[in-house]
């Protein structure tokens, strides 16, 4: 009896358990379905939200691009405006400095026999430095450089560059034999070398020499500037090379309150006139070696164009018969000589001279004085005070 009761109980429990299991399974299935449904719904909403977000982001990006564009345009316009304003001022300074240089040269030649010459030379030196800065600013603003219409020896071009820096006495120039720069290259190369010399002078000790030498490498002429300065780090070197390539020029507003536009100016004029400048070398004093590399289009051998100051000398030389009479004291005796007379050809450049045979030195002196008196113009150099001689 109790066994039956137990059996029934067990059966009842088993039935209940099965029912419970079935109910649970059914419920979990329903739950799973509902979960999937809600997940799908959520996913759809998420996708929608994502879409919205993407759209919003895209709109933001275009807006930002537009803004950047507008800012860039505004900056460009501001740069152009600054440049055009500054260009006008720089050109004014540039031409005034050039005019002043010409005037000062005239005054120096007129009062050349006077003690005031020293002061005049100091003023000319200051003016030459100002002219260089004015040229630099003008170039940065896109104005053309001043032009020279006479070819010149590369030695004189470097001396011209030398005159444009403060401590010009530190520059030692090796004399090259017979190389001239074409007229179109004279002014740009002089300015580029001047900026390099200024750089060399600024970054080395005040008494250290700066050496300029010349080298011909294949069809190129190299002007090599060695300083005994501190040299440059890799980073500086890279930055300098980038600027000297003439690309990626800094904006005027990026130059800072103490603008250093030496390298940008060199880069610009080098690119405009077809030569290259490199400052990555190390000089033999451990400083910077700057090399200006001029392709053959910019220079010639000088034999074809006699330099203005030396030409007449060779024509004076064949004098007498070669015997040099000496006095008992060992001093040469004064004899008749074929003298040069200065005849200017009217150019405003360094006066070109042609030799004319004279009867004696005194006659030449008289003619020189006379011609200077006749031509009341300062570009004909009169040795000051020679009238009193």
């Amino acid at each position: 009896m109790t066994q039956d009761v137990l059996l029934w109980c067990l059966v009842a429990i088993a039935v209940t358990a099965v029912a419970a299991v079935v109910a649970l399974v059914l419920r979990s299935r329903a739950l799973g379905r509902r979960k999937r449904e809600s997940e799908a719904a959520l996913e759809a909403r998420l996708r929608y939200a994502q879409g919205e977000l993407d759209r919003a982001q895209a709109a933001l990006t275009t807006l930002r691009d537009e803004q950047d564009g507008v800012i860039r345009e505004a900056e460009q316009a501001a740069e152009e405006n600054t440049k055009s304003v500054l260009k006008g001022a720089a050109r004014f300074l540039q031409s005034l400095a050039a005019e002043q240089t010409t005037l000062l040269d005239g005054v120096q030649r007129e009062y050349g026999g006077h003690a005031v010459l020293s002061d005049l030379m100091d003023i000319t030196h200051a003016n030459a430095q100002m002219a260089r800065k004015a040229q630099g600013i003008a170039v940065m603003c896109g104005a053309p450089l001043g032009r020279r219409n006479q070819p010149a020896s590369v030695y004189d071009v470097v001396r011209s560059a030398q005159s444009q820096i403060r401590n010009f006495q530190r520059v030692e120039i090796m004399q090259p034999s017979g190389i001239a720069l074409k007229a179109s290259a004279v002014a740009p190369v002089a300015l580029a070398v001047a900026e390099l010399l200024d750089n060399a002078a600024s970054f080395s000790q005040a008494d250290a020499p700066i050496e300029v030498t010349f080298r011909q490498a294949q069809k190129n002429l190299c002007i090599v500037i060695d300083d005994a300065g501190v040299g440059m780090g890799d980073e500086d070197r890279q930055r300098a090379s980038a600027l000297l390539s003439g690309e990626g020029l800094p904006r005027l507003s990026q130059l800072g309150t103490q603008p250093k536009f030496g390298f940008p100016v060199i880069g610009l004029i080098a690119r405009q006139h077809g030569f290259t400048v490199d400052v990555t070398g190390v000089s033999r004093y451990g400083g910077v070696r700057a090399v200006v590399l001029l392709p053959e289009e910019l220079w010639t051998m000088e034999e074809t164009l006699p330099p203005a100051t030396e030409a007449p000398v060779s024509t004076i030389r064949p004098m007498e018969t070669g015997r040099s009479a000496r006095t008992a004291g060992g001093l040469p005796k004064r004899g008749s000589r074929i003298s040069p007379t200065g005849v200017t050809t009217g150019g405003e450049q360094a006066p070109r001279r042609s030799a004319r045979r004279g009867t004696g030195s005194l006659a030449a002196l008289q003619r020189g004085t006379q011609s200077a008196r006749d031509t009341a113009s300062f570009d004909i150099p009169t040795p000051g005070g020679s009238e009193n001689a």
Binding site: R91, Q94, A98, T101, T102, D105, Q108, R109, G112, G113, A115, L117, T124, H125, A128, G142, P144, L145, G146, R147, R148, Q150, A152, D156, V157, R159, S160, S163, F168, Q169, Q175, A187, Q272, T309, E310, V313, R317, M319, L331, P332, R334, G335, R337, E348, Q349, A350, P351, R353, S361, A364, L365, G368, D379, I380, P383, G384, G385, S386, N388, A389
Partner: protein, 128 residues
């Protein structure tokens, strides 16, 4: 390169300014290298002149075989007198040139003293 709005500026001043030719040296004293001071090149100076600047070489060529006065050198080279004097001073320092100064002006003496000396001399002559 050239801007159509603004023409190129033409640089007309000599390429090498005088202060570079003078190499930044000061003028010699007034009494040195006067107009009439006579100069001539030392023997062998021309051969040693390879390293000179063109202007100094021109001067040396002019005076290589004879005498010239300072004023004449200035006239021939068409350089200002002061620049020539600076160049000459440097060349004299380098031992490239002979310099012969002009005969100095007679100094002014007291006429009373001169008369007294003359009188004394006369007395010696007459006394002898």
């Amino acid at each position: 390169m050239s801007d159509e709005l603004d023409s190129e500026l033409e640089l007309t001043a000599p390429l090498v300014p005088l202060f570079v030719i003078a190499q930044g040296r000061a003028l010699p004293r007034e009494s040195e290298y006067e107009h009439t001071t006579i100069i001539t090149a030392q023997d062998g100076a021309v051969a040693a002149a390879r390293t000179l600047a063109p202007e100094a070489r021109t001067v040396l060529d002019l005076i290589a075989d004879g005498f010239l006065s300072v004023a004449e050198v200035a006239a021939h080279t068409r350089l200002p007198l002061g620049i020539v004097r600076i160049l000459l001073a440097q060349m004299a320092e380098d031992g490239l040139i002979h310099v012969r100064n002009p005969v100095p002006h007679a100094e002014r003496h007291d006429p009373v003293l001169l008369t007294a000396v003359l009188d004394g001399l006369m007395r010696i002559r007459t006394g002898a």
